[in-house]
Symmetry: C2
Subunit: 392 residues, 2 copies
Amino acid sequence: MKINWSGRSHYFSKNDLNYFSKVIKTADPLTQGTYLKKFESSFSKYIKNKNVLAVSSAASALEMIASIIDLKKGDEVIIPSHTYCASAIPFARNSAKIIWSDIDLDTRVVDIQDLKSKISKKTKAVVFVHLYGYAMDLSKIKSYLKKKKIIIIEDCAQALGARVNNKMVGNQGDFACFSFHAQKNITTLGEGGMLLFKDKKLMKTLTQMRHNGHCDFNFKRKNYWVPAMGNLDFELKNKWPYKFTLSEIQCAAGIRLLKKINQFNSLRIQRAKKAIKEWASLKELSFNKNFINKRHVYHLLSAYVDPSKKINRDKLIKTLFHKYKIKCAVQYIPLNRYPLFKKNGFGKSKCPNADKFYDNMISFPFHIWMSDSHFNYLINSVKKAVLELRHD
Amino acid sequence: MKINWSGRSHYFSKNDLNYFSKVIKTADPLTQGTYLKKFESSFSKYIKNKNVLAVSSAASALEMIASIIDLKKGDEVIIPSHTYCASAIPFARNSAKIIWSDIDLDTRVVDIQDLKSKISKKTKAVVFVHLYGYAMDLSKIKSYLKKKKIIIIEDCAQALGARVNNKMVGNQGDFACFSFHAQKNITTLGEGGMLLFKDKKLMKTLTQMRHNGHCDFNFKRKNYWVPAMGNLDFELKNKWPYKFTLSEIQCAAGIRLLKKINQFNSLRIQRAKKAIKEWASLKELSFNKNFINKRHVYHLLSAYVDPSKKINRDKLIKTLFHKYKIKCAVQYIPLNRYPLFKKNGFGKSKCPNADKFYDNMISFPFHIWMSDSHFNYLINSVKKAVLELRHD
């Protein structure tokens, strides 16, 4: 392969590597120490939300959300079928009936009209996924959902730094999660995530929920070791805390990369815009639309390949793969199509756009450490491949 | 403090740090790649068990065990009250009724007679914890439990390298977990664990369970991207997979430290034996007994302080803390005493030994990177403190 699909979003500078070595060399404790506090406080400042907790993954954050919203059997949670499975599994495990929402073909995120049509008296929560880094504006739907007492959850796994009206996504609803997985806009060395929440009164409960119920005693101890070295408690009835802790070296990586997030995102945006401009004459490909007041951070660069044209998606992927040695991907098969969801009664959806988009989409390799020359090669190869297929 | 309680069990050599830098610099992907495979295969060889899966923590391994044994409401799981809370929480979450087993005062692990008295028709599983690194011999109780179709789970979080009749603990039952948390005999940089299981037929299900149900398709695909980049499935009915993945750098640390585990454990054993020998004349302190055919790896060095003597535990901790600047700990408050367990109906136990041991135990700082001179200072300070208190 000339341009492969990468399993990491970042390579590190010599200074970064020295910093990581220093942390590994000196941190005591190796988990739940000062780097955790520092990462949370940096993240908090960046995202402008005081209620943040670093956790082992975005899936862990969603698991905590699914637990704290206290779903009862029969409660419905509406989730786009076009997303990664971790957006849905925690809710399914916590006994939600999942209702699949469709996407808007222009934005590839939740279609508000479709969502409204799927709300019922049993709807307990709605998950909005800012997929591909596209910032979804919830301002209009928010009051509608609030009136119905429906909980709003933002899955910002791919959207760190995405903004609506200059405000960071993750602050529009009741809960949000971010991911620092290997391929994300920043990564805590492969695994990691962040939980955000609106109601500051939940801080104590969620902090306990993150780490086996660990907490302070609610009285001053005379001796540090009695009645025990620390207390364990948890305020939610019939629920149990988790072990979703992020280690110090992971937090240190988060601290380090977060300092450069604007630089990373600017490069993503600049490159995505360049490619989309260069491909403007290729009418077979279409891209995200509707950017008024939005900052799309392009976690991925993907296109919809119009199936009515001669150049279908599969032909394009094949040509890029075999002739140009570029490995593209297709992403976010509608979750209802997987055996995992079928077996559990979530095999059906009314999401024609999600189906249509998935069946005709292509995702180009878009790791930001790609050299300019490789990126130009990608742009030119896609142009050439489309033109060749047109005249095939 | 002259000798503090440390939040890390290891410092790393220059070579280790260079190795970690190389991994961070070059690994692609940053999670679920070749280091995971290599760590699992090294661990597998060391522990002599082919069925191992590296996971995010020992708690994650226990969560997977608690899920796969398919507990029904009313099923009882017997767990020592004298252990860390993560031994119990996953079972409680998965609807077990927890029955607390008592410990033997000589070994500080499950008392077999007490255990037998607590088995009922509803007993679905028993958790044995090789606490402090003491290797518990299950050979006698095993067939008794098998006859009753009771599942045997070994919690080896503190016992990597502990052996019974020259066989590694973790191979005596149906399932086992190990921990690589910050303070353990080896650490995957703060967080990490390993799941072991006896029945190789479970490999597929547990591999899916570890990572959101990811698996191969059960047919050969013509194109790598259809029907999707990968499949999601899960064989257990009404269960959902987790996100319990360990990153490449964490696995790399595991690979690196596992090479030196014998050296680490030998040092632990040698130092523990030296201290116990030097303290032999202090009749107020007693240590683990019963070592026939056993290799105790001394994750911790703890003593029982005879409450009938003048020198009680609290006085000893105070003296060591204030006069000798040594920070000791007390560990494993009977879990039934925590609000977390009380609130959920597990507040009562019949475990007089666990209560008595906890109320009178002292755990000395025992990180193996402690210098010889500090370790000798610890030995001598304990001697002096006991003698002073005797004549107080």
